[in-house]
Structure formats: C-alpha cells, structure tokens
C-alpha cells in the first residue's frame, strides 16, 4: 500500500467500535454480556454498568428469549454463525426495539468457545414492512379461502336446484302417465254412450265432452313429451323409410279444420315429395304450429301451410296474418311453459312450440320464427 493512495484520515478503531452505526455485543459461553458498544447503550437507554455482566436473555423480549434458546443458540453452536435473524431488544423502560442480528462465534485455538459476537441493526421500519407483508398474505389466503367456500356454496345450491328440477320432471312424467288411463276410460265410455239413442241435449253435451277429452288428452301428451325431452335428453322419434309427407300434412290440416270452426287453411304441398322422418311427429309439429297460428292469428284471414324443397332441404312453413310477435316474446318463444302475454285468456300449457322445436331438433332440423308487418311465419327445415 503506498502512502499516496491512502486517504489522509486516521480511523480510530476504538471510536469506530463505540460509535459505529450498529450495536455490538459480546456474550460469554455462559450467556453473560461481556462487552457492548456505546451505540447499543444509546439505543437502549441503558448504562454500561447495567448491561455488562448481566445475562443476555434478560436483554431480550420474551418471544426473542425463547427463540434464542430454541433456534439461535443451537444454530450458532452447529454452524458457528447466524445471519439476518430478527430479535427484539428491551430498552431501559422495557420497550421492545426491533433489531436485525448477525452473530458469530469466536473460539480459542483449542476449540473452546470464547465469545459469541452480535452485530445489531435497527429494523423498526423493516419489521413494520414485514408485518404489512404478512398481514397482506394472510388477507389473501383468507380471501382465497372465502372464495372457495363461496364457490362450494354456489355449487351446492346449483346441485340442490338440479335435484329439485329433476324431481319435478319425474313428477310430471308420472302424473302425465297416470292421467292417461282414466282419460282413456272416460273416452271409451263416451263412445259407448254416443251409440245409445240420446236426447238432443244429450247429443250436444256428449259432443262438448268429446272436445274436452281431446283437449285434455292433448295436454297430457304434451306433458309426456316434455318429460321425455327433459328426462330422456330429447323427444325421441322413430324414423320411417322414405315416404310421401303430403298425406300426413293433409290429414293434420283436415283435423285442425274440424276442431276449429270458422278457421280457413290454405294448404299446398307437392304430392310426390318424400322425406325420411317420423310421420307422427311431423304431423304433431304441424298440428302445434297450426294451433298456434289459429289461436294468435287474425281470424278473418286464412292460415297458409306450404311444404316444398329449398336448397336441398325439406321446408314446411306456417304463415298467419295478424299483429306481429313482440321482440321480447320472440326470444322466449320456444321455451317450455312460455305463453305470450298478449292473450292471457288462451288456455294451454305453453308447450306446443317447445315440443315442435324439439321435434325439429330430433330430425336434425331447425324451427325458426319471423314476424313483421302483420305476418308471422314459422319455418321448419330438415335435411331431405
């Protein structure tokens, strides 16, 4: 080292020890404080006589005292040094002073422990920051835990909801099935009665009863179809071989005219048009669309039924005149139990269009509705 390179300052090592910007502490093998610096005395507000000769654990807070015995002392003995350990030193007034400590053993040549030396740094701000971090982590853990609990609650509610819905669907299926038998019994009884010679009034009443039975049977069929859709995953169809569709459609139109006095239906379909579908279900689809058109359409105007081929698809349209379907209603048209608010007096379960759309779906087809300017068109399309 050259004189020229050395700064012209003479560092006083004794003063450096006493007034260094950190606390120094030397502890004997028996845990007695042998020496400390002025900085530590200043921080703790203690006198040298008070500190030197006293026991090191007494200088520590209770938590630090136990920690010193269970962690710090064993580590020092095993690895000879410890760094970055948090310790709370007690001031003269018993106030906890958060410190960060490094410590190293000083051993004699024969391995005997002479001192353990501690360097202490003030760490109040750092400790506060660490506490903030721990609190933030605890809050995050708690939030995550609550999030999970919330999720579990929602999923359990959903489960309950599903169980209830499933129970309701089963109830509907059983009810529908059980209603069919007494209804069939009433119907056959009525047939027997109609063969008797009845008074004029008897004839009128039994005729009305027949209509009522037909309506009731239809409602039951609809309910059964719904149950099949909900429980069986679809309405279920039995596809026939390719066969002409016109006779089926014509028959349905005739039946609807028979039970809808005053209604007119314009029907057109190519007689030779063949499709591969379930004739009974396609008939049901048309019947539901016609029922809807007659109920909601302008009674003074005819309903048009038209079948044909468009773009390689079988297309069946049912068109009625009358006020257009409101936009809001359009969105829910094919949902079960939906009844348009426009005519509350109309009776029915609100299943007709839902079932029709399910029949379309079962045929890999679509059922769509468009409504504008006094004309509403339902359009069923399926692969040929």
């Amino acid at each position: 080292m050259s004189d020229a390179a050395a700064p012209n300052v003479h560092e006083d090592l004794a003063d450096l020890y006493e007034t260094a910007p950190c606390g120094y502490l030397s502890i004997t093998a028996d845990g007695v404080i042998a020496k400390c610096n002025q900085t530590l005395l200043t921080w703790t507000g203690r006198s040298r006589e008070d500190l030197v000769g006293s026991r090191f654990p007494a200088l520590l807070s209770v938590g630090s005292r136990i920690y010193n015995e269970t962690h710090l002392a064993p580590l020092l003995r095993m690895q000879g040094h410890v760094s970055e350990v948090a310790l709370d030193i007690l001031s003269h007034g018993g106030i906890k002073l958060p410190m960060l400590a490094n410590a190293a053993e000083k051993r004699a040549e024969d391995g005997r422990l002479l001192f353990t030396r501690f360097t202490l740094l003030e760490a109040s701000d750092r400790r506060r920051y660490e506490h903030d971090l721990i609190a933030a982590r605890d809050r995050a853990v708690e939030r995550a835990r609550m999030g999970k609990a919330h999720e579990a609650a929602i999923s359990s509610e959903l489960e309950d909801e599903r169980a209830t819905a499933s129970l309701r669907d089963q109830f509907i299926a059983v009810l529908g099935h059980d209603l069919r038998n007494p209804l069939a019994a009433i119907e056959s009884g009525l047939h027997l009665l109609r063969k008797e010679s009845l008074s004029a009034q008897g004839g009128r009443v039994t005729e009305l009863m027949e209509g009522s039975i037909r309506r009731a049977a239809r409602l039951v069929d609809d309910v059964m179809d719904l149950a099949r859709i909900r429980l069986g995953g679809g309405i279920g169809i039995q596809r026939s071989r390719r066969m002409p569709v016109e006779p089926t459609l014509r028959q349905v139109v005739g039946e609807m005219l028979a039970i809808s006095p005053g209604a007119t239906i314009v029907f057109e379909a190519p007689p030779a048009l063949e499709i591969e579908g379930d004739p009974a279900r396609i008939g049901q689809l048309l019947s539901n669309l016609l029922g809807n058109a007659i109920t909601h359409g302008d009674p003074g105007q005819p309903v048009q039924v038209s079948a044909g081929v468009e773009g390689g698809k079988f297309v069946l349209t049912v068109t009625n005149s009358g006020e257009p379907i409101p936009e809001q209603t359009m969105q829910h048209l094919f949902q079960p139990f939906f009844r348009g608010a426009s005519r509350p007096s109309q009776q029915g379960l609100g299943l007709g269009l839902h079932i029709a759309s399910e029949i379309a779906r079962a045929h890999d087809g679509t059922l769509t509705a468009s409504s504008a300017e006094w004309r509403t068109i339902f359009r069923f399309a399926m692969p040929l």
Binding site: V62, G63, Y67, E69, R77, M78, Q79, P98
Partner: protein, 262 residues
C-alpha cells in the same frame, strides 16, 4: 411413504439395546449430533425428526393429527414398533421429554428408561404452579415466530422437499437445521407451549432421569423439581451447563449423566 422416511429416521451403532433420541421444538435431530455418537458402541442409536421438522415429510403434516402432543407420541410409538424397540432407552429434549413420556404410556414395553433433558409438563403458570410464562408471554412468542423465517421461503420449499435423495441441496442452505415452514413452526410452538402433562407424570412406570440446566429460561429449576417430585423414583441431575440446550453447549456433561444412568 414409510414411517421411517416420514420421520427421516436414522439408525446407527452396534449395540442391541435401542437408544432413541428425540429433538424438541426449534431444530431437528442434529441437536443430538454431539451426544448420540458417544453411545453408538453400546447401543442401537435411533434418531428422527418430528413431522414438520428437519427432513421429515412435510406432506405428512396434518394440523388435526398434531393438534396435541399425542399425535407426536403416536409417531414415536410407530417408529419404535417399526424398529422393534423393546426395553430401550428414550432420550428426549425439551417438549420431546413429554412426548416420550406419553409414548411410554401408550407402549409400556418399548422403553424401560426415560432421559428427560430440560423437561416441562406445563410452560404457563397455573395457580401455585410456576411454569415460567404467562399466557400473554406465550402469545407474544407465537407472534414473534412470524418475524423469523430462517432461510425458509415458500418458493424454495418444493426444491428442498423434492430432493430428499439429494440432501446436499438442502445442506447448502444456511440455517437448515432449524428451517421449518413458518406455519408448521407456529403450530408446533402453540402445541408445545400450551401443553399440560402434569397429570401424566405420575403414571410413568419406566426409570426416569431428569437433566436440569442451572440457568434455563424455558424450563426453570423449579419445573425440574416439580417433575422430580411428581415422578416417584425419578433421578434429578442438575447440570453445570446453562441455557436450554446442554446437548449442544455441554455434550460431555450430558453424555456422562446418561451413561451413569443407563
């Protein structure tokens, strides 16, 4: 995972009679590194880490199972059974003195001698009983434990735990002897410092040696005296050593006392 790897059980020595060493709250079986080798010529020396400490399987830590010292005592019995320990010597430091006592009540044939180093059946004062701490002081300790992580980092944990077959990775890290998941450390601290086994002391049938340090802030002399009085036929030896860990600070004295006893 087998019991032996769960508790990182290490067996050494050439004797037939077993001597089982159990560490207390804080570090791991390394606490016995200056004591256990002295018995290897005469005993089958067994050391282990409590679940949650040292190189035990942290995945086996279950807060419910280890909600009290019985969970740890159950592990000790399992280790003894796995290694066929009968009429052996148990040496337990600090809280493990009580864990060994509970284990000996569960399996009386396992140990016929218990060595308790710095035992305390209850750390918190209770009426006339002086354990050395008030309830609020123990709470203060539990809070303070959160301030020291000693080389523990959640990010590092998988590397440490996943390399049981490559211990050099763990050894490279400083403070590894006392490194514990802070959550587990806090749990073990609560279980330890709120335990009360005063009623169990009188039930012990094995010969018992109490090693009491001269100046121990965790297990003061009056606690050692209480244990001695409660366990009929126990021997009490007061060591010259100070502090709570004579097994590290004065191993020769501890070895001599154990040797004289067995």
């Amino acid at each position: 995972m087998s019991i032996l790897s769960r508790n990182h059980v290490q067996v050494s020595g050439s004797g037939t009679r077993a001597m089982v060493f159990a560490h207390g709250f804080g570090c791991d079986q390394n606490m016995w590194r200056f004591v256990a080798p002295a018995f290897e010529s005469d005993f089958r020396v067994i050391a282990f880490d409590h679940v949650g400490a040292g190189r035990s399987d942290l995945a086996a830590f279950d807060p419910d199972k280890y909600a009290n010292l019985q969970g740890y005592a159950g592990d000790l019995v399992e280790i003894g059974e796995a290694l066929d320990v009968r009429q052996g010597v148990f040496v337990g430091h600090s809280v493990s003195a009580m864990i060994g006592l509970l284990a000996s009540l569960k399996a009386p044939e396992m140990f016929d001698a218990l060595v308790m180093v710095g035992p305390s059946p209850r750390y918190i004062d209770d009426g006339a009983y002086r354990g050395g701490f008030s309830e609020s002081q123990i709470e203060e300790l539990l809070e303070f434990l959160a301030d020291n992580h000693l080389g523990w980092s959640a990010a590092m944990a998988p590397a440490i735990m996943g390399n049981a077959d490559r211990p050099e990775l763990a050894e490279e890290l400083t403070n590894s002897f006392c490194r514990t998941d802070p959550e587990i450390a806090r749990h073990f601290a609560r279980v330890t410092f709120t335990s009360d086994n005063r009623d169990d002391l009188g039930k012990v049938a094995a010969r018992t040696l109490i090693l009491q340090c001269s100046d121990d802030v965790i297990a003061p002399p009056e606690v050692g005296a209480f244990c001695h009085a409660a366990m009929a036929g126990s021997e009490l030896v007061t060591l010259k050593a100070t502090g709570h860990c004579p097994n590290l600070s004065a191993p020769e004295e501890v070895v001599a006392a154990i040797r004289a006893f067995v």
